[in-house]
């Protein structure tokens, strides 16, 4: 079965420091991987995706993520955190080879990022 794990409920980092939000996945085929961010009282916003190609993908607001097939990970990173990055971050996966009719995303439980000034 497909699954996504975000092992940290919360990540705390000081403004200006690099940040990493961890994500590991389990799929039977080649994964399509996504990161979304949710600000308070808002819907999820798409940050970036990995489909194929370069393992390092760049997305919105200076975020990037690295696909590591051997470790089945897709960690979200940013070189220098901003207070405004504080939000809830979700990792998600699709497995096109899975025997399912739809194209729904499977989400992790989310990681709260708190950036202090």
């Amino acid at each position: 079965a497909q699954s996504v794990a975000q092992p940290e409920d919360q990540v705390n980092v000081a403004e200006g420091n690099p940040l990493t939000v961890k994500c590991t996945y389990s799929v039977s085929g080649n994964p399509y991987l996504f990161w979304y961010v949710q600000y308070p009282n808002r819907g999820l916003q798409f940050l970036l995706k990995y489909i194929t190609g370069d393992n390092l993908v760049k997305g919105s607001y200076g975020f990037e993520a690295e696909f590591n097939k051997s470790q089945t990970s897709f960690h979200l990173k940013k070189p220098s955190a901003l207070v405004s990055d504080s939000a809830l971050y979700f990792c998600a996966v699709r497995d096109p080879s899975a025997n399912q009719a739809g194209t729904a995303l499977i989400f992790g439980k989310g990681t709260t990022l708190s950036v202090s000034s």
């Binding site: 996504v4 399509y32 996504f34 979304y36 009282n41 808002r42 819907g43 999820l44 916003q45 798409f46 995706k49 489909i51 194929t52 979700f90 699709r94 096109p96 399912q100 009719a101 739809g102 194209t103 729904a104 995303l105 499977i106 989400f107 992790g108 439980k109 989310g110």
Partner: protein, 120 residues
Amino acid sequence: EAGVTQFPSHSVIEKGQTVTLRCDPISGHDNLYWYRRVMGKEIKFLLHFVKESKQDESGMPNNRFLAERTGGTYSTLKVQPAELEDSGVYFCASSTLSTGAGGSYNSPLHFGNGTRLTVT
């Protein structure tokens, strides 16, 4: 373009009552999804429409939940009768039927702000 809109933003109902949530996807988006997040847990898939057809409803919890998308435009999700465990945030999302590499699998979902349902 207008985003995905959901109504109401909040709903508080008593156990046993009925609630209907509405989602208006982005115009032209044939894929429409319903998800639910219970406090502190994963965002769980409920079901997926392609136009007016239910493509996958494997995530619907039970027969108290009924989703429709008449005419392939907006969608409604009815909970009848509501139970305490139905409380959570219900998200709607839409995407295009991409014809590029990977088809719809590489199309990001566009989410609404969600409906926070509280059953007391």
